[in-house]
Symmetry: C2
Subunit: 337 residues, 2 copies
Amino acid sequence: MIAPSGRATVHDVARLSGVSIKTVSRVVNGAAEVTPATREKVLAAVAQLGYVRNPVAHSLRTGVSGTVGVIVDSISDSFFAALASGIEDRLLAAGFSVLIGSTGRDPVRERGQVDRMLQQKVAGLLLVPNASDHSYLPAAAGDLPVVLIDRSADVADFDQVGVRDRDGGHAATTHLLRHGHRRIAFLGGTTRLETVANRLVGYREALAEAGIEPDPRWIRTDCDEAPDARIAVPQLLALPDPPTAIFSSNQHASTGAVSVLHRTGRTDVALVSFGDFDLAATISPAVSVIHQNPRALAETAVDRLLQRISGAGGPAERIVLPVPLIERGSGELRPAG
Amino acid sequence: MIAPSGRATVHDVARLSGVSIKTVSRVVNGAAEVTPATREKVLAAVAQLGYVRNPVAHSLRTGVSGTVGVIVDSISDSFFAALASGIEDRLLAAGFSVLIGSTGRDPVRERGQVDRMLQQKVAGLLLVPNASDHSYLPAAAGDLPVVLIDRSADVADFDQVGVRDRDGGHAATTHLLRHGHRRIAFLGGTTRLETVANRLVGYREALAEAGIEPDPRWIRTDCDEAPDARIAVPQLLALPDPPTAIFSSNQHASTGAVSVLHRTGRTDVALVSFGDFDLAATISPAVSVIHQNPRALAETAVDRLLQRISGAGGPAERIVLPVPLIERGSGELRPAG
DNA sequence: CTGAAAGCGCTAACAG
DNA sequence: CTGTTAGCGCTTTCAG
């Protein structure tokens, strides 16, 4: 007969096993100095009562909990959803619970989420920071382990794991150049996000290496969402000397671009997307992508956070993951004529 | 000068405002019986110290927290991601934090997530139950508010909010029949999930009303994921008298079906998808869907949970949301010939 | 209307 | 190696 979890307390276990509550605590927490015999007795009582440590009391006493806070732009966005999912899997395996929050890219909401999680005494924080002032973070976090994901904040004190944005932008653009394109458009969101800015730098560098000075009208940094791209792409294609290829630097712009290209029968326009998306591999032509692997990002970030939580120190580190180019067809199209 | 949140305690506030900690507690919790004058003094001290109630201590003392547990099949699945996102938005607005967990449709993992959340003393639980035994739930949950989402469990004690699965299946099939189809395939996952089973019932009923006895081979209940559908659809189309239309009862099967239809040039096959998905509206032909609105589901479920948390009783209720049919093209294709 | 004291369940000193 | 005592920050009898 197992009692409902969480009902029995250390006192119950102590009484049943005939030891003091401290000894119970020691056994439960795996402290070394307990006689095997006593340990057995306690463990038997624990099993019999179905005793589970009350995490709330534990947290109040120790000041930390078995919960990690995760803060992303949006939970429904496929990239962040995959990221959050990877994080949850790995944290669960390590015995942690996940407190989740979204910012909607609103700095005020982000701040609120951070504060809320700090109050909950999370054991660590995984944060995708917005493009905004983060000077509050070091003081707010104190010595709480924090790992920044994807983007970095404007403070240097934290571990950060991201991807080679600039390399990805460079590789995508070079790939299109190699397939004969000279007029290549850039689609992306606000360059206030360093990731976007870096992808744009990679694009510019690749063009410069090919001796190409991009027409400013090719560069659209107003495409944060799919509908933006559905407006931008037709405008690009209506230019006097229209681009024959597009490097889309985020998945939303990519899906917008794909949909409008398909709808207008312009599937001859080459396309490389930074970030994979649903159906990218199966529409025709399939979309070539720079693969920003959210699960790898998740695992790397969690592992780093767990290191920190377990006290492994060292200075703040910046881990940068490579982003392979996956050829699927759309990026290998050659310009007409 | 505001102190870092969470630092000051009731004692600090009491000392500064010259009252007892109990009075501070009363003011902070909005209890009625405090003199306006004292209240002002306390509030001033609270503001000055940047006092924020320690939720952990509060939770230990009261037995509940300001956190709600949310358990879904998968965080990365677009439907559940949208659902979780809607839940988070609405709970945040109500001042609650969100503890999230996924089950991967594994009953053991589900049980573990539920237990973990109960231990954390969540204020309520939002659960998408798997097709499995839930007899443990009533005892485990005790009087904790629980709202089931999308699917119901095999126990009757809980509120549940879902959609009209059978109506949706019926409407989708009838829609295809009206456009001249007689041979309509059903694509779906395991009928152990009541939602799938009900959609299938709707499909069968609609066919029966049209005097059609479906060929058993038209009915594929082995399509839980996109790749399954990519295998099933070509097999369906290779039948002697192949279906001219498909009712796909989940988004994954739908994306799989779409991709294989496009790749094989069979975009003449009519398709209605239960559940919307990315790009459904913008590929060609655009995919007609039965719209299973995850945000509406989220809001309804959260509202019901908040009612329960605030003590509004009443017997367990089953709330069923309608699912409109959105015509986009693929569902209005007529059979060839 | 307000305060003193007890205790939620746990862990950390400090003795024994 | 083990037990006693105190206290994390909060709410809550029960007096005043």
